[in-house]
Subunit: 152 residues, 2 copies
């Protein structure tokens, strides 16, 4: 390996700020969702299912959409099943595995919680950034996201 | 609660891109660190300890520095102790709890792994951004980070 190209101070600041932002933000949004006995991860599952036809997704598609392993998702879905928010359903007409389906309670939960969660996302992130900053962040990160998806 | 201010399409894109970037990046960097039997979380602990006087930190300070709860950190440190990378040490001269201390093996590990990890951070993040983008990200996120730290 050739000599390491260590990060410059400016590069290091940007990298560490990105890491800290994500952790602190998730910590804060988790805290705010605790009031509804949800985590940010629960919320993300509810959003994905609520936006899908018939409020259901294949487990494999849901794992892709939420960027996590099948096994981690499976544990997550079990916890959410225990809370009555989702159900598992086998596909009878094909062999491509199991669906996660939003229950009526899950649907009511996301309707009820969404206004509070979006207020938190605004307060702690979106409303603290200018339109230009939001645009730069998306333009900078979107190609990296596409590239990293190919590497999965 | 007044009518929810839902995110505009541009706001939603920026927010979702930020979330996806972080998850995919951590997934990728974890994969690359697997070769050394480390995770991104292990790496972060090693860096913090290696940069501290006498390569040691109070557990409470280490929890703050790595933005996680004392209990989560404690589990993490137990796993790293089992691998021989760190040790716990009681403070004899005060009551302010336990230190985490980098072992010689932990020190050698961070020296050996750092060049590979920084290469990954460059390949998947830093080198894919312009200086202007890096500067905008830091300028945009640093005040949010400061604000969120106060809310912890």
């Amino acid at each position: 390996m050739s000599a390491p190209r260590w990060l410059s101070p400016a590069e290091q600041r940007a990298w560490r700020t990105q890491l800290a932002l994500h952790k602190l933000l998730m910590h804060r949004l988790d805290r705010e969702l605790q009031e509804f006995s949800l985590t940010v991860n629960d919320y993300e599952i509810l959003v994905n299912l609520s936006e899908s036809p018939e409020r259901r997704m294949r487990m494999s598609d849901l794992a892709d959409a939420t960027i996590q392993s099948r096994s981690r998702l499976s544990h997550q879905i079990s916890r959410m099943e225990a809370k009555g928010l989702v159900m598992r359903e086998d596909c009878h007409d094909d062999r491509r595995g199991t669906f996660a389906v939003l229950t009526d309670e899950g649907w009511e939960t996301i309707q009820r919680v969404a206004p509070f969660h979006v207020a938190g996302v605004r307060e702690h992130f979106v409303d603290r950034l200018t339109d230009d900053q939001l645009e730069t962040i998306e333009a900078a990160y979107a190609p990296i996201v596409e590239q990293l998806k190919k590497l999965r």
